[in-house]
């Protein structure tokens, strides 16, 4: 009987993985929402602690996934795919926190700068990632087309972000701005772009898993 229970513990842990991956994706989305709220209300700036909390929470989830991977003998999904997705998801709130840190030390320099379009795209990308990760709990026939369509939308968002950064560079490199400001602004915009790139990576990982299991 004990052996039976242990076997059950070793097998059938997939629900736990799905729950943890969903929680990790949601945590990434929350970190972008915190950033968006704080930049939208300048009087409500002290968000670094909130963002650090979101990142720590994501870290805990990543560790739980790693531990579950060690304890579990058989999973429906391949081990390295779970690890890759979990690591990619962790990077999103980490980048958001890094952006907030850099923003807070350069606030005087970037006064009046508008990050809203980029943050909007990052928000859309994380929402898409949450939806895609959610699809993993119901893999099987018929899912691939849906996931591919979701991934295509994510790639469109990434491509919009690329165009946006090019537009910003055109302005920053026009010669109308102080060079230090150019360096600081470019650094900040590129961090947000990197967040969107990591969402694209997460979408790619989900598509890869779905394709394997379709």
């Amino acid at each position: 009987m004990d052996a039976m229970i242990s076997l059950q513990r070793l097998l059938g842990k997939d629900d736990r993985f799905f729950d943890l991956l969903n929680a990790a994706a949601e945590e990434a989305r929350q970190s972008v929402l915190i950033l968006s709220r704080s930049l939208g209300t300048p009087s409500n700036r002290p968000t670094l602690e909130d963002l650090a909390r979101a990142r720590r929470s994501e870290k805990r989830i990543t560790q739980q996934i790693s531990e579950a991977l060690v304890e579990t003998v058989v999973t429906h999904l391949e081990r390295e795919d779970i690890e890759m997705l979990s690591e990619t998801l962790y990077k999103i709130p980490k980048i958001v926190e890094k952006f907030a840190e850099r923003f807070s030390i350069s606030e005087g320099m970037v006064k009046g700068a508008d990050f809203s379009k980029h943050i909007e795209l990052l928000g859309a990308a994380t929402t898409q990632v949450v939806a895609m990760v959610n699809e993993l709990s119901d893999l099987g026939a018929g899912r691939l087309d849906k996931v591919k369509a979701m991934n295509a939308r994510l790639q469109e968002i990434e491509s919009e972000a690329d165009e946006l950064i090019l537009e910003l560079l055109r302005e920053l490199w026009s010669g109308r701005h102080d060079t230090t400001k150019v360096i600081v602004m470019k650094d900040l915009y590129e961090l947000l772009e990197k967040g969107i790139d990591r969402c694209r990576d997460a979408g790619k990982a989900v598509t890869h898993i779905t394709l394997k299991n379709s």
Binding site: L166, L169, R170, W173, S174, G175, T179, V182, I183, H208, L211, K212
Partner: protein, 208 residues
């Protein structure tokens, strides 16, 4: 017998896709050469977008084949790594071209010809390495890899020389910032070629 033929056909398809991907890198670098050698002309990014779009299709087809094919000619992770590094070549060339066109008014008179010539050589060497791997001419792969590493090393020296000029007092700071970014991007094109060459050499070693 039929099954074996089908397997061989699939093997060929893997290499053809990788070669096609290397070819898109070549298209991108030639498009860049046209822009840099005729800066006064009406430049367009269409050719780069097309090269990268095609490369993306090739990479996606390859990724799908890797998942749906039971036996692959090389180890799965090696094929994945090759597809990924090859895709990054036209992507980085396109990024350079986009930024160059945006920055053109600030960097008039800047000379990228030496870095460009080395990038072209590197991308061409990668294509030749892929062709040699496909044809199983493994001795050629080693020679080409050595030449690729020499090109990369020469590019490092040129970058240092260019940076030395840039770091002189009197260079307008914005021009220095922009040029540093552009020099680094061209350097990255060569680095991506070196990475691809390393993966091919690694494959060769494993299958020797």
């Amino acid at each position: 017998m039929i099954g074996f033929r089908r397997f061989l056909g699939r093997e060929d398809r893997f290499f053809s896709l990788l070669e096609a991907s290397a070819q898109e890198g070549m298209h991108a670098i030639l498009a860049l050469k046209r822009i840099l050698t005729h800066p006064e002309g009406q430049a367009s990014l269409d050719e780069f977008v097309e090269a990268r779009r095609k490369d993306k299709e090739v990479t996606t087809a390859l990724e799908e084949m890797l998942i749906t094919t039971f036996v692959t000619p090389l180890e799965r992770e090696d094929l994945e790594a090759l597809a990924e590094t090859l895709y990054k070549i036209p992507k980085t060339v396109e990024k350079f071209a986009e930024r160059y066109l945006v920055a053109q008014p600030q960097i008039a008179g800047c000379d990228f010809s030496r870095q460009l010539a080395l990038s072209e050589q590197a991308v061409h060497l990668v294509l030749q390495m892929m062709q040699a791997l496909h044809a199983r001419e493994l001795g050629d792969v080693k020679d080409l890899q050595a030449r690729l590493q020499a090109v990369e090393s020469e590019a490092d020296d040129i970058l240092l020389e260019d940076l030395r000029k840039l770091y002189q007092p009197g260079v307008p700071s914005l021009r220095a910032v922009i040029l540093k970014e552009l020099f680094d991007l061209l350097e990255k094109v060569i680095d991506r070629c070196r990475d691809t060459g390393n993966v091919i050499a690694h494959v060769l070693l494993k299958n020797a």
